[in-house]
């Protein structure tokens, strides 16, 4: 996979890093951005990536390849497929904020309200996923988390004051 990917893109995919909330980093993954620049400048590369991603997934079942499959689908504007891949990536590593936001933006483009729910409450989703001992990220489990969040009054619209600075323009 590494060699093939390099031959197509000119760079290596690199390891998948966990962007844990506590580390307070905007994003750890750089692959999505690099692929976006490359595919925007040379759209024909997307066809090559799409033709190979199936075999990469067979070769390596990991958070890294699931995220990569999600990126390729997202670049292809196949947001259903992208969301599905990012859900698998979240299942494999639910502490990784990058995967949660990638999932959220895939749903955003599908005009799915769950996209907004995750964007506005990303930290609550990560925390409740762990607390509720959820084993698989899927539509049903996301709805369970959302219901629990509303039940506990943790949704952002329920307490905006906590995030409004004193001096508002």
């Amino acid at each position: 996979m590494e060699q093939e990917f390099f031959e197509i893109t000119g760079f290596l995919p690199g390891p998948r890093l966990t962007n844990a909330l506590a580390e307070k980093e905007l994003r750890k993954d750089r692959l999505f951005q690099s692929l976006a620049n490359l595919v925007f400048d040379s759209p024909e590369i997307l066809h090559l990536l799409k033709s190979r991603v199936g075999s990469w997934l067979e070769e390596e079942f990991s958070e890294r390849t699931q995220a990569l499959a999600g990126y390729i689908a997202y670049l292809d504007e196949d947001y259903h497929r992208a969301a599905s891949s990012f859900m698998t990536a979240v299942t494999m590593n639910p502490a990784n904020l990058d995967s949660w936001l990638d999932l959220a933006f895939s749903l955003y483009h599908l005009s799915d309200p769950m996209g907004y729910a995750i964007i506005f409450n990303y930290d609550v989703f990560i925390t409740l996923y762990r607390e509720m001992e959820i084993k698989q990220c899927c539509r049903e489990s996301l709805e369970k988390i959302e219901a629990e969040m509303l039940e506990r009054g943790l949704e952002l619209s329920q307490n905006p004051g906590a995030f409004l600075p004193q001096q508002k323009l």
Binding site: N37, F40, Y122, P165, K168, L169
Partner: protein, 322 residues
């Protein structure tokens, strides 16, 4: 009519100006209603969203409310906001639409309902963290907004203020005389047919796009079109991004003769040379220095030592009608 005064269409889309209290993006609204521009985004006071949606519907436009944005002074933000280093002077906090927090609703507007889903998330701070959209969404958004693909790709490569004088790059790629349809300098002052940066001041795709738009607006608002045309044909002195000036005057033999100077941009720091330019009535550029005269008497000079950065270089532009 004097230059750069408030302008309002007689009738077509006039309600948008009345709703907003200014004519910001009015030509883009016209383009949307005419079915030329596919999508635009705007910010609407939260308490007036229903009124805005009704107004759009009266023109056959669909609206999708995205998120609530509350403008905030970056200095008022807590130190621990993740991504604070990327925040500009126009930062905002983002909230769900049903939040009681005031602010403005970010909206997408289109004549085609299905295009609303192509709107792009705008970077805002959510729960003490900057939430940015994926890079590919930014790259593709120009075409979603209806900008010519040649201009979108040019923008992608040259809109880097730390490496290029973007306006100068456009100038250097302009073969032939600049066409007034491709004048982007007055877009913040309403007097413009485009809201994108062209890849050339004679970009064929932009000329074609504006030709259709101008023709349709002219059928409905001829005086409005005349006013825009007059402004677009003014001579300009350009230094750098957001640092350019319009003149009531003319260029003859590389010398600009003028009776009045205007700063048409909305970014106030760009006004830095205005007073010096106002002290004269003609100027010319020698090397990288602007020499300003009143009659034959030299009154000021704007030299390289006054530049904001190494890429700032002055040039004169006169947009023609052919």
């Amino acid at each position: 009519m004097a230059f750069f005064e408030k302008i309002v269409p007689e009738s077509f889309c006039r309600e948008f100006v009345e709703f907003r209290g200014d004519a910001h993006q009015i030509v883009m609204y016209m383009s949307l209603v005419l079915g030329i521009k596919p999508l635009l985004d705007d910010w609407i006071p939260a308490g007036r969203l229903d009124e805005y949606v009704s107004l759009c519907r009266s023109y056959g436009l669909h609206v999708k409310a995205d998120a609530l944005h509350c403008s905030v002074d970056p200095r008022a933000l807590p130190e621990d906001v993740v991504g604070k280093e990327y925040i500009t002077s126009t930062s905002a906090l983002g909230f769900p639409l049903n939040t009681e927090a005031g602010g403005n609703v970010h909206v997408f507007v289109s004549k085609e309902k299905e295009l609303l889903g192509r709107g792009m998330w705008y970077p805002v701070i959510v729960r003490n963290r900057m939430i940015e959209q994926p890079r590919i969404d930014i790259l593709k958004y120009g075409e979603v907004l209806g900008y010519p693909s040649c201009c979108v790709r040019f923008f992608r490569h040259y809109n880097n203020w730390s490496r290029y004088n973007f306006l100068g790059e456009i100038h250097s790629r302009t073969a032939g005389s600049p066409h007034y349809y491709c004048n982007p300098f007055t877009k913040d002052a309403v007097y413009s047919y485009i809201y994108h940066m062209p890849c050339s001041y004679r970009c064929e795709a932009t000329i074609s796009l504006v030709g259709r738009l101008r023709s349709e607006i002219q059928k409905r608002e001829p005086a409005f079109v005349d006013a825009i045309d007059r402004h677009l044909a003014l001579p300009f002195l350009v230094f750098f991004e957001r640092r350019f000036y319009a003149f009531e005057g003319f260029i003859d033999n590389d010398r600009l003769y003028y009776s009045k100077v205007h700063f048409p941009d909305s970014w106030r720091p760009g006004k830095v040379y205005l007073e010096m330019l106002e002290s004269g009535n003609n100027l010319h550029i020698s090397g990288d220095t602007v020499h300003i005269f009143r009659g034959r008497r030299a009154v000021a000079r704007i030299g390289p030592e006054m530049r904001e950065n190494e890429f700032e270089r002055p040039f004169l532009l006169q947009f023609g009608r052919h």
